[in-house]
Symmetry: C2
Subunit: 141 residues, 2 copies
């Protein structure tokens, strides 16, 4: 062990585990999926209802998102062959389990988002100052 600077080197939670979580995030963490799952969280809902609730989603994206969720067994699709046609979407049992991690995200947001935004502003200020300094230095050349 001649580690120069790999101090503690806790072997727990390697890259492999990150990879797995990553795939999950890629599937359920994108913009529209989160919104759609949110819309479905209250119970069965029709196609155009989702469209109104999510607001801003294009027909294309809604269809694609729903198809993806259905494909992964997170959402069930029920067609009522009435006139006019009606299609209900609903979270499956598996889909409902998503609510837990999603709430974890939400909890973090409530607790720490403000601090994050504050840090961001501070950083922006410093950038301003740095830019000013740089400008004066450049000008005096």
């Amino acid at each position: 062990m001649d580690d120069t600077n790999t101090a503690v080197r806790v072997p727990q939670h390697g890259q492999t585990e990150c990879r797995a979580s990553l795939e999950t995030l890629a599937r359920i963490g994108d913009k529209w999926t989160v919104m759609v799952v949110g819309a479905l969280a209250h119970g069965p809902i029709r196609y155009n209802q989702i469209r109104r609730v999510v607001e801003g989603i294009s027909q294309r994206m809604l269809t694609l998102t729903l198809k993806g969720l259905e494909q992964d067994g997170l959402v069930s699709r029920t067609v009522y062959p009435t006139k006019p046609p009606r299609v209900d979407y609903e979270l499956t049992d598996l889909g409902r389990t998503l609510i837990v991690p999603l709430q974890a995200i939400h909890a973090w947001t409530v607790a720490h988002q403000p601090a994050m935004l504050a840090a961001r502003e501070k950083f922006a200020e410093r950038e301003q100052q740095a830019a000013s300094l740089q400008a004066s230095v450049t000008a005096s050349k």
Copy 2:
């Protein structure tokens, strides 16, 4: 209460809350950010060490990701003006709070990812059959 199909209609957790979580996800939920945070979770680490650990990340993306995290106060950057230069990155207290929701994601992945993949395969099979049927119908026209 003349709800035709808006059954329970739980007013809890509106779109507003989803929006907030969404911003968080957009910031910390992207591919490289998750991996980098994972690499930083063990303690201070140098630029090129991250590059090796994350494996696959380009110089550009690593720099951009780190800059973003630093900007949001999630990661601290320490420069040692030695020769050659050395820069350490480390999660801030704020950054460490990310580990909680990230572990929630990980827990979900371990528990439900297999079921999700299974569902995906099943769906693919059905698609195959549907395609075959469609083909025979089309052919018989």
